[in-house]
Subunit: 119 residues, 2 copies
DNA sequence: ACTATATTCAACCATATGGTTGAATATAAA
DNA sequence: TTTATATTCAACCATATGGTTGAATATAGT
């Protein structure tokens, strides 16, 4: 069962809306890395990258594991899966397979309303 | 060939990061609608919804067609397809099929750099 | 103990975002 | 022509975002 938390989708899509953060995800897709290594290829301060990592962390897209003074970042699957699910079902519906998505939207709407997490 | 414009992905994911806009897309998935009809179910001013529509339009996710004073909004496929492609390939890579995504990332990186549209 | 490294924190800045209200514009209907 | 409807525009507000720099904190190495 995929969970549909509006806030989680907000944060996930929001995190993906920045090229630096997409690139960080791409870096991590090749393997876990620490903050300094992640920051190196980006043309900005370490503190700026650190902030991007916090955004990714809040979206649940990466997980941090401290090893002494070094923070090792690793990808986390779930939020991306849910973002993908949203788009997949949206397209399934829109591009033809109507009934399924209509049901899905109903559920989503209810959840978003019920939890009052509409922004 | 999918096109990888960094700015387009920024705008697309950015547009999807708001629950009102996701709901508008859901409304439009059931069929074209005008601004007033789209606005009705949302607990905010018409002007606010109008602004959201402009965001969706700039992301290319909806297309506007004026019929006299009524603006009819319709979904547009391409940007959503590209957002989906990004996530799909990211996950393909990360969850096992390494070689393909590595190539893809190379191309993406080049495009994003070459066009200098990195924010 | 001292020094160097890894990371965040805090204050600051400029611009973006998401909302409001009231006026402007364009078209439709009387 | 007058009035009503559809939509945007403009000004404003509060908060968020993405960056900076310099200081603070924590751990490692000598």
């Amino acid at each position: 069962m995929v969970e549909y938390s509006s806030k989680l989708l907000d944060r996930t899509f929001g995190a993906l809306a920045d090229p630096t953060r997409r690139r960080i995800l791409a870096q991590l897709a090749k393997g876990d890395e620490c903050v300094t290594d992640l920051a190196r290829p980006h043309a900005m301060s370490l503190a700026a990258v650190s902030k991007h990592l916090i955004v990714l962390e809040k979206a649940g897209l990466v997980k941090r594991r401290r090893k002494g003074r070094v923070h090792s970042l690793a990808l986390e699957a779930k939020p991306m899966r849910e973002a993908q699910a949203w788009i997949d079902r949206y397209r399934e519906f829109w591009e033809g397979n109507l009934d399924q998505f209509e049901k899905y939207l109903g559920k989503l709407q209810k959840k978003e309303n019920k939890h009052g997490n509409d922004k």
